[in-house]
Structure formats: structure tokens, C-alpha cells
């Protein structure tokens, strides 16, 4: 038998005898204890720290947070009524007394309408994204694990829906369901399920061939257990990153549906509806007319930037 050479390396000079190895382990433990920075760090706390180092992402996330808080605490921020207005005060400009963002064509305070409307629009942004993430992930992971006939059938159905342009599909579903916020949410959810399913399925296919999934099967775990404990946590990464970029899109689609009269019914202050109703007043009070559009734009951009930063933070070599 050939002698195997022993090299001193980051294994602390561990040799070939048990005593040597115990000594090497003791040295390694000492070294680990001395390096306080190398503490055990969970995935989420490491991601959070990386996210914080991205200034653009942090600013975007703060803007999103302010918008959400503003929508939730609207009654405490302004005492004006978003639904009733004084026609004598219609179309006042920004900064008019008592009306920070002016008034709309019926004299309703714009700030109040934007804040209360934020509730509707943010709901229309978050709920479909969450719903599509849950349903789409289930479909995608199932298709990725089962493959064969079932997987193909699922994914080709998703492809059929995905082939429609998003806004057209949303209009079609929204028109057939009728007006109202709930129907808008359902329509947008349906529009988002296929792309999420595609992301989930491709991530599943990538994960499922890794050896740790085989190793999990070796313990006697059934397919469902393996899917839940090994595959899903690794797929969620990709899904979360993709879904977070959909929130802004959801809001825009909901606003478009409202704009076309398919969303929330008046006098609900949904931003898209407000954009439509102020459209004709652009020549009279241009700054007021673009307020709802500005907020749609701001929320969408902030969400996109925040989700980009999230993707970068989650992506660092794990």
C-alpha cells in the first residue's frame, strides 16, 4: 500500500491517527470561537443584511411602506371625506388651504381620495399576487415533480392562458365577471397564475435533479414529503422574487380595469377610476389631474425597485 502524504492545510494539520484528528478538531474549535464574525446566520437574516446595503432598494422599500401605512392610517392623517365633496370647491390646485393635493371635479379632497383609494389599489395589488403565488406554485411544483402526462397537461394549459396578453385576458375575465373590486382581484389572479406556474415549474425541474433530493428519498420519505421539505423551500426563492415584481403590475392592471369602468364602482376612490374621471380636466387643472397617475407610477416603480433589490439580496451565493 502506498503511503498517503499528509499536508498541513486549513484542516489544522489533521493527521492519519485518531489522536491527531482530535487535536486538529480542538484547534479548529478554538479558531471558530475566535472568529466571532463567522456566526451562524440564517438565510433570511443574511438576506436582510444584504438588502439593507442596497440603498436604492431601501429607499424603494421605505416608499412602499409609507404608502401602505398611509392607506391603513388614512382616517388619522386626514379628516376630509373622500366620498363627499363640496362642488363650490371643485378643482382647487395643489396646496390650496385645507387641501394638500387639491380637489377633484366634484370637490372631493384629493389627499383623502388618494389615501383611501390606496387601500383599494394596494389590495388589488397584493391579494392577486399572493393568490397567484400560492396557486401557481402548487401547479408548477406538481408539474415539475410528476412530469409525464400530468405535468405536460398542466403546463400546456398554463401556456394556453399565458398566450393571451395580460391586459386583454384581464379585461375579458373582468368583463364576464362584472364590475367590483372582488371581481378585479379574481381576474388579475387568473392572469398571474400561468407565469408564476412557469417559474415554479422550471425551478422545480432544476432542484429535483440535485442529489440531496435523492438522498431524501433514501430515508424512505414519500414523494409528497420530499416535495414539501426539500423541493419547496428551494423553489420558493425564485417564486418570491418573481411574485414581488408582479405587485406593481397588478396595480396597473387593476387601475386599467377601473379606468375602463370594469373595476370598483364610483364613488370608490380607486386610483385608476380617478385617473379616468379627471382625464377631461387636464386643461383646467393639470397638476390635480395627474395626481392619481403619479401615485400609480410611484407605487409601481417602488415595488419594482424593491423587488429587484430583493432578488439581488437573495441571489448572493448560497
Amino acid at each position: 500500500m502506498t503511503q498517503v502524504p499528509v499536508l498541513l492545510d486549513k484542516n489544522f494539520g489533521a493527521g492519519t491517527t485518531a489522536a491527531d484528528r482530535a487535536e486538529a478538531d480542538r484547534r479548529r474549535d478554538e479558531w471558530n470561537a475566535a472568529r466571532t464574525s463567522e456566526q451562524s446566520r440564517s438565510f433570511w437574516s443574511a438576506t436582510f443584511r444584504r438588502f439593507l446595503s442596497n440603498r436604492v432598494g431601501v429607499v424603494a422599500a421605505v416608499i412602499v411602506l409609507l404608502l401602505v401605512l398611509g392607506a391603513i392610517f388614512a382616517p388619522w392623517i386626514t379628516s376630509a371625506d373622500p366620498l363627499l365633496g363640496k362642488p363650490t370647491e371643485r378643482l382647487q390646485n395643489l396646496g390650496a388651504s385645507g387641501h394638500l393635493l387639491g380637489t377633484d371635479e366634484q370637490g372631493r379632497d384629493m389627499l383623502a381620495r388618494v389615501l383611501y383609494g390606496g387601500r383599494l389599489s394596494l389590495l388589488a395589488g397584493f391579494v392577486p399576487t399572493l393568490g397567484a403565488a400560492l396557486i401557481g406554485t402548487t401547479i408548477g411544483v406538481t408539474a415539475g415533480i410528476l412530469r409525464g402526462v400530468v405535468g405536460t397537461a398542466l403546463m400546456r394549459t398554463m401556456d394556453m392562458l399565458y398566450a393571451f396578453p395580460a391586459i386583454l385576458l384581464a379585461i375579458a375575465v373582468g368583463a364576464s365577471l362584472g364590475p367590483g373590486l372582488t371581481n378585479t382581484i379574481i381576474a388579475v389572479t387568473i392572469v398571474f397564475i400561468p407565469p408564476v406556474a412557469r417559474v415554479a415549474e422550471s425551478a422545480t425541474r432544476r432542484v429535483v435533479v440535485q442529489e440531496f433530493v435523492e438522498a431524501a428519498r433514501l430515508s424512505g420519505a414519500g414523494r409528497l414529503r420530499v416535495a414539501r421539505s426539500q423541493v419547496l423551500p428551494n423553489v420558493l426563492n425564485d417564486v418570491i422574487v418573481y411574485a414581488s415584481s408582479l405587485v406593481g403590475v397588478a396595480m396597473i392592471i387593476a387601475a386599467s380595469l377601473s379606468f375602463l369602468g370594469l373595476g370598483s364602482a364610483p364613488p370608490a376612490p380607486e386610483w385608476g377610476y380617478m385617473l379616468n374621471s379627471l382625464r377631461g380636466m387636464v386643461s383646467v387643472a393639470p397638476l390635480v389631474a395627474i395626481v392619481p397617475g403619479f401615485f400609480i407610477f410611484l407605487t409601481s416603480v417602488a415595488f419594482n425597485l424593491a423587488s429587484d433589490a430583493l432578488r439581488e439580496a437573495m441571489d448572493s451565493r448560497l
Binding site: N11, R21, A215, G220
Partner: protein, 335 residues
């Protein structure tokens, strides 16, 4: 232990074919063809061969990750049904250590979660799991503080130790090591191999060690089987096989091992005459007729293309599948 030396695992005529798409057509890939092996309790069987010879498929067949198309398996005196999914108890007896330390560990699970998962599946209590994880981590030489770390915080050698720990968590009798040290640096390989031999002694484990690295196999194995294109071409004790290889393929393999001793070098007189023979391994989708090695064999005869050679037993666990040898020859040659 008077159990030592009795056969723990016996494979009889095990075959596995895959259905693949080759060049647009559907074809059958014969990955493992009528393999018969045995491993004695407490010993190490080394399996060597080139890439594509079916070693990894065989490893997965033994452990139950692939279902066989044909053949039988007897483990610890009981027959194991290999054409059906194994039971939880059967999985407990045989475990596997995988080749790539990185992809063999779930990046989203801590070390203790990875090691404890098999125990969780088998329904152990949390306290029992924690205790067993701590025991097995100290067995493989990992400090307890690593339990809450993630794989990306560990080095390659440490990750492979985690893989070994996970394989040992259920206290199996047989551990299949599929190229378990191939992805490690030479110095780390040495440590891990020594760890494996220590564990074998301490727990009376039986190993099936699969590798393409002949030096490593020689170091760790008691018995060796040589595979080519899904078939076992030669078997015997490690000492005998390396000192006196009988099958032309074994001779070819051993002559191509780089050696530090210049007097042993065969670089300037290669055995295979590459001008007339293929030097590439044929495809397992369409293997050569008769003896699968004949396209590269310097001693190929006419009969090699017509008839596949049977295993010829030369006594004491030694066998070779080659037309150069025959049963009658065995009697004539002194042991």
C-alpha cells in the same frame, strides 16, 4: 464477531435498462447487465470502471433508488424485492454517500436538519433525533457548533463529512459510497478515507466503494470488482487483482494508472495498440455483440464477437469473464 466474513449482500443477475431517446428514436440503454456480486460483512467491496460503465446506476440499484428489471438481491439472508419500492425498514439497512458534497446537501437546511431528516422520516422523537445527530457528528469529527450552520459555510471536506454523518444516522449495515472522495483534494481524500476505515472498524460497517480512481480503491478495498459497459468483467481480492490482473480490461486499466515510481511506468510501451483499436468506450445503447470489450481488446478472437463470455470461477472468490480463460484451464493451472 463470528458474523464477520459471512455474505451480507448478494446480487444475482441484476439488470437495469433505461428507455431513452437517441437521435430521435426510442432506444434501450443497458446500464447494468446481469451483474452478480457479493459483499462480505465488515469488508469493503471496491467497484472500479470508467465513466459510463454503470457504476453509479448499480449503486442506486443496490440502495433502492432505481428499480431493477431483472435479477435478485439477498441482504442479510433475506430477499429484497428490487423491482418494487423498498419499505422504510429496508431503506434503514442500506444508505449511500453521494459524490458531490455541495449538491448532496439541501442549501436551505442547517447541518443538523440535513442529518436529522432521515430520523424524522422514520418517526423518531425530537430528543432522540438531537441525541443521535450529536453522536454522529462527533463520530465524523464535526464540532457540535456546526449543527446550526448552513452548507455554504462549510468546506468541501466538511460537507462530505456531513454526508457521511447523514448516511450513518439510521445506523445502516451497508453503506454505498458513490465516488465519495472524488470531488475532494488529495489531502482531504486521505482524511476522509481514514475516517471511513475508522468508522468501519468501530461500527462493523460493510462498504461498497465505487470509484474510477484505482489508487483509492486499492487503499480502501478488501475485494474488488471491475466493471465495463454494465458488466462485471473480473472479481477478486484487491491484492490478487492488482498484482495479477487476468482480464485484458483490468490489465489496460492498471497499466494506465500514473505512478510515482519511474521503473513501474508503462508510458512508453502502452498495452493497447491504439492505431487498430477504438480507444473510446462504446455506447451502452448499442453495445458490441458477444464480449462488450472486444472493440478495445488487444487479444480479441473470432469467438469474442459471437459469444458473450461467461463468468469463470478461478477459486477463492476470483472470477473473470473472458474467452482467454476456460474452466478446464483452471484445473490445469496450479493455484
Amino acid at each position: 464477531m463470528d458474523d464477520k466474513g459471512k455474505e451480507l449482500l448478494e446480487l444475482l443477475g441484476v439488470s437495469k435498462t433505461f428507455h431513452v431517446r437517441a437521435g430521435g428514436r426510442r432506444a434501450r440503454l443497458s446500464a447494468v447487465d446481469a451483474v452478480s456480486l457479493s459483499v462480505r460483512q465488515g469488508r469493503t467491496l471496491g467497484i472500479v470502471g470508467e465513466s459510463g460503465c454503470g457504476k453509479s446506476t448499480l449503486a442506486r440499484v443496490i440502495v433502492g433508488l432505481h428499480l431493477t428489471d431483472d435479477g435478485e438481491m439477498i441482504f442479510d439472508g433475506k430477499q429484497v424485492l428490487t423491482h418494487r419500492r423498498r419499505s422504510t425498514d429496508e431503506f434503514k439497512q442500506m444508505q449511500m454517500v453521494f459524490q458531490d458534497p455541495s449538491s448532496a446537501l439541501n442549501p436551505r437546511a442547517t447541518i443538523s436538519e440535513s442529518i436529522g431528516f432521515p430520523l424524522q422520516v422514520q418517526g423518531a422523537s425530537k430528543a432522540a433525533i438531537d441525541e443521535r445527530v450529536a453522536t454522529v457528528m462527533s463520530d465524523v469529527g464535526l464540532p457540535a457548533s456546526y449543527a446550526s450552520r448552513y452548507p455554504h459555510q462549510l468546506s468541501g471536506g466538511q460537507r462530505q463529512r456531513v454526508n457521511i454523518a447523514r448516511a450513518l444516522a439510521l445506523q445502516p449495515k451497508l453503506v454505498v459510497l458513490d465516488e465519495a472522495v472524488s470531488a475532494l483534494d488529495k489531502s482531504i481524500q486521505a482524511q476522509v478515507l481514514n475516517l471511513l476505515t475508522d468508522l468501519q472498524e468501530e461500527y462493523g460497517l460493510t462498504y461498497v466503494f465505487i470509484s474510477h480512481d484505482l489508487n483509492v480503491v486499492r487503499y480502501i478495498s478488501d475485494d474488488v470488482a471491475v466493471m465495463y459497459l454494465g458488466q462485471v468483467v473480473e472479481r477478486g481480492s484487491a491484492q490478487e487483482l492488482y498484482d495479477n490482473p487476468k482480464h485484458p480490461y483490468t490489465q489496460l486499466l492498471l497499466s494506465s494508472v500514473p505512478t510515482l515510481d519511474p521503473t513501474e511506468s508503462t508510458r512508453d510501451e502502452p498495452i493497447d495498440d491504439s492505431s487498430t483499436k477504438d480507444s473510446e468506450i462504446p455506447s451502452p445503447i448499442d453495445p458490441p455483440s458477444g464480449c462488450r470489450f472486444r472493440t478495445r481488446c488487444p487479444f480479441a478472437m473470432d469467438i469474442c464477437a459471437e459469444l458473450a463470455p461467461a463468468q469463470i470461477h478461478l477459486g477463492e472468490g476470483r472470477s473473470v469473464a473472458c474467452h482467454l480463460y476456460s474452466e478446464s484451464e483452471v484445473q490445469a493451472v496450479p493455484a
